[in-house]
Amino acid sequence: MIKITDLWKSYGSNQVLKGLNLEIQTGEIMVILGRSGVGKSVLLRQIMGLEHPDSGTIEVNGQEITNLAEKQRYEVSKNMGMLFQGSALFDSLNIESNVGFYFAQNPDPKSGKHLSQEEITQRVSESLQMVGLEGVEKKMPSDLSGGMKKRAGLARLIAYRPNILLYDEPTTGLDPMMANQINELIVKTQNELQGTSIVVTHDIHSALYVADRIALHQDGHIIHVADPDDFMKIKDPTIEFLEEILIHHPRVRKEQHSGEK
């Protein structure tokens, strides 16, 4: 379980997180939904340990991780993986080296041993196959489309089988078909790895497709946590953008149209 308690984070005078609380159960896909710029990615970066919060705690399976020394932090990182918004593939390495990068630098987190080159190649092939990207091993990231980069990023993430998977705006900038593919891959990855996933997005379609639960992020707080069905029923005038995002969802549009008739 991941437990976030009273988390505060600011950049200069801009207070982004204002005492945020959230609990994510082991084995679920939690979607953090909110408008662009409210600090969803900031929250993800605190969980991943890429930034330190001003105050508050983050516990992963009972271990407080916010104040760990760098070395201990890296130990925790071995069980976590993040898909970055822009994929963050290493420009100077081909896709094979990108996907196998973790094992070139670290021992296998499960066995604690360094993998041989054959084993790394095998893992890379399996991961690329899982995301439907066979045959691109020797290509450079610049040769791939946006959607392929996202899938290669996901392959890099699942290659070392982390227990906790963090996704930062996984469908942003993709066409609807490619976005659907990524959504399907998130669910497929979750089913195969049986880990815990946190998906940050402002895409309601994606949220409703992948989520076990949806947490609504507004003004530095989580103001609602609900499963997708209950989420669609939320009527709260204090939530600035809820109506705005739901109105675009086909399910809501359909209900409205049938009501008008």
Binding site: M48, E70, Y74, F84, G86
Partner: protein
Amino acid sequence: MYELVKKNFFNIFNAVGEYSALIYQTFVTMLKKPPGWALLRDQFHSIGVLSLNVVAITGASTGIVLAAQSFYQLSNKGLAGVTGIMVAKAMITELGPVLTALMVTGRVGSAMCAELGTMRVTEQIDALRSMAVNPLRYLIAPRFIASLIMVPLLTMFSIILGILGGFAIAHLFFGMSSSNYFDPMPIHVTSFDLFTGIIKSFFFGILIVTICCYKGLKTTGGAEGVGKSTTNSVVVTYVWILISDFLLTMMLNSIHQEVTMDWL
């Protein structure tokens, strides 16, 4: 006005602190776990081998111009015979280290800053950390070690080509014999001169890699930010090479004089 001064002072103070921390942490990281050979080999190639052309052209052309100028200025005073000494002294103590450092900054330092800056703004450095890889060990330490070794080597290469270039001009255009050009050198060019040149090049190597890497790691603001960081890193490194050249010249010569006086 007070606020502006206060803000700038704070920014400079902050940057110096972060820069010092980067150097310290890089050292600690290198000592704990040195970077692998593959990473070092890439940087040796990038900093050393790929800089050979530009350093060779700079060194040789400087030696050529220096020899020509020296000969024209000194020959009418009957001092044409010191042309070789002039070229060697100037190349070893000043022009070799400084010009090599400036060229390496322009060719390698700017590329380092742009590469790290791009990695910063495209979250590649965050991706490294998310995979339990220390960016200081993976990105900075290999560049640091390679720069520390290759900049002095490139400097020596530049000095040798400068002296040889000077001889080519002195011999071909002014009819100076090799004995006239080279023979006085061992007497007038001391081991202290060589020591000065090497110490300076080590120091410049550290300046180039640390300033350019620091600027790269601090890049924000997308493609425009990368451009600004890169320009800024080159300008700041140039300025600090020139300032530190003066300070090192004064310091090393003062120490040398003290030591010589003690011996006497």
